[in-house]
Amino acid sequence: MEPTTKTETLDIEGMTCASCASFVEKSLTRTPGVQRAMVNFATEKATIDYLPTQATPATLKQAVVNAGYGVTERAPDTSAADRQAEIDQQKALAYVKLKRRFWVATVLAIVIMPLSMLMLWPAMMARVNMQWLNYGLLVLTIPVLLYSGREFFTSAWNGFKHRAANMDTLIAVGTGAAFLYSLAATVVPGWFMRRGIMPEVYYDTTATIIALILLGKVLELRAKTQTSAAIKALMGLQAKTARVVRPDGQEVDVPIEQVQLNDLIVVRPGEKVATDGLIEEGRSAVDEAMLTGESLPVEKKTGDPVFGATLNKTGSFRFRVTKVGADTMLSQIVKLVEDSQGSRAPIQRLADKVSAIFVPTVVVIAILTFVLWFDLAPVEARLPLALVNFVAVLIIACPCALGLATPTAIMVSTGKGAEHGVLIRNAEALEKAHQVNTVLLDKTGTITRGEPAVTDFVPAEGQDAAQLLQVVAAVERQSEHPLAEAVVRYADTQQAPIIAATGFQAIEGKGAQASVNGQAVLIGNFRLLDEAGISLSSAVRRQADELLGQAKTVLYVAMNQQAVGLIGVADTVRETSAAAIKRLQGMGIEVVMMTGDNPQTAAQVAGQVGIKRYFAEVLPADKAGKVKELQAEGRIVAMVGDGINDAPALAQADIGLAMGGGTDVAMEAAGITLMRSDLQGVVTAIELSRQTIRTIKQNLFFAFIYNTLGIPIAAGLLYPFFGLLLSPMLAAGAMALSSVSVLTNSLRLRSFSPAKN
């Protein structure tokens, strides 16, 4: 047998000229096992054909390194994971720094506060030199400003240069103004006194605001890392190594990045499946909960697909790798969830418009507040009052909460959806799903299993059921017809003993014949028996009519020229369908069914699952038309389908839900993909969407109400009526709490779990 070669592409680092390329090429060509190596200087790539029995990607890299050059790691998911790890590390470091800055500010603010209050006790004031006390406070405040609060100032300045204003602008201008005023009052108190103003200082305000805003940031950062916890958990599921069977039969553990297409991999009980592939040998039960949300293990046998990151339970098997890296199911899911977290929900548009103009507008309001207070307040108090209100407006109007309201909720809920096998393509789909009032189900494959199953096994009078089943199964085991497979599956579930059939012959369009235990057996449609000259007894005929009346396909069985039984076959309804439909109806949603079947079958299935309205005999090309018909009635339609022919209808619907193992085309056209073939997923998707939108609305309400009420109060609107002013420190506390409360509200979505019947 000719040895198979593999091709590897490496990204080469450090080549400066064409001769470097030929140097690398030579080094590679001399490596044992390499049959051909080509190095392109312009693209910095090396393409190498090699014998996997003699060389591995690692030895190839080593050859490049030996030549004095480097290899850039290219495996897409590895670099993504590395990048993520680096980002995580940087974030962790930023968090530590932030906490340090927060503690410095807090400790100093705790010292500054009581010292500033000394003036409240006249007895104390008499003993302390005001001027010296102010200088002392100044010295304590400078580290708060320059160390703890420096980021606000640099960020505000950088933003200013870009004509962009952000929350830091507000904090910097607010605390900066309070500090500069205090500095002037400390250094030249005489200037103030001569104008009849007490030279008051606001060092406590400056320090406390910075400490409180930093507290808000610390809490915010902590909560924010939790919003993407679900997706991180998903990424962390990937197996780190795989046990590859080498062509010589040797089993070797290799890092997952080195696994290649068509490798044979062994999975033992309790191990994770390394990547996607097809089972070649063995059988087992595999826990696929991480991909589908289904908690029951799935039986797998030769020929069945397995997916990376799922957990092998009982048996041991070998599978052939069909997908690696970014192509695997897990990577696709992670990518989809990441994409959806990057999208914008339409509900966010208003908040976006507001936040774009927010900061400069607030700065203008703050300036006008200052002018009004200065002009209207009594002369001796006008400067301090104008200043305090100016600062309060700036600090309370921080738009953090507004900016966090939607994205945090979307992040938590898309992650949560993935956990339950509901993949949401984008935020718009999530938002659309909560408005749905009509769910249109394509019958085959959604309500029903989409494959025929034996529903009735009817032996003729005087026949032994168990024995007849053995005989029938013996014949059908040799056939590849879908109906025959259904019969074999049925026999297996009944644990019918396996016996042999000889002389099997398929009869096109009619059925099959074979010989079992020396008896001639015929299984097929009525025509098969009719043409063989076998007549049916009136009892058998009556039973057949009954099955046909229930819209079932009937298989007739004859032995030795005598009709001995009937098998009723139909596409069966999934166990969960009726309950899920009831649940949808309970949520106020009308469930409508469509099918290509005749009205009789349609009525039968609809009745079984409690659907009142259905469309029968719908041609695949007309499916989208039915969606339009419902939309014309003013309904918001969710379409659920699983096949390529459903794609136009999925796209036409207000929201399309592609169901489990759905084709790529269907997934492409759908806003939501359900990983599991189960209508319960539709319920989960709509419930999740409703809960998410509710959370977003609460968040936006809190953020808007907070700013719309907060700003006028801070500006002093209540002062003429109630003599109430908002202290800038209180404003800082409220501002810190607002974004934390919005985040906490979003995090409540983490406790979402779909209602089960």
Binding site: N158, M167, V359
Partner: protein, 125 residues
Amino acid sequence: MDTTEIIVTLTGLALSAFVIWYFFFSARQTASAVSTASGVQEVDITVKGGYSPDVIEVERGKPVQLSFYRDEENSCSEELLMPDFSIRRDLPAFKTTLVELLPQQAGTFTFTCGMGMLRGSLVVK
């Protein structure tokens, strides 16, 4: 109204006018993408208190590669959002992050920081 009040009022109004003009009406920094031999439109963007350049012109139907270099540690700019292209990226400080996309429709697409404060736009022609 005394003289001080008049001065404060006029200064306040002038400052307000400046803020409105400076943040809303002043000219933006525009840059066009540079096409490489392989047909990729490349643009380098520095992130520091904002995006420079913040208006980027590209051609429709050709792949675009945006290199974001984040030249600060301030947390405001740590996330990049391009909602029209379903992109959310963390921008590590003092590192270049590549963002690739294929604009298929003409129009103006906004990109922002995580909270929508810092803004830029991709103009597809």
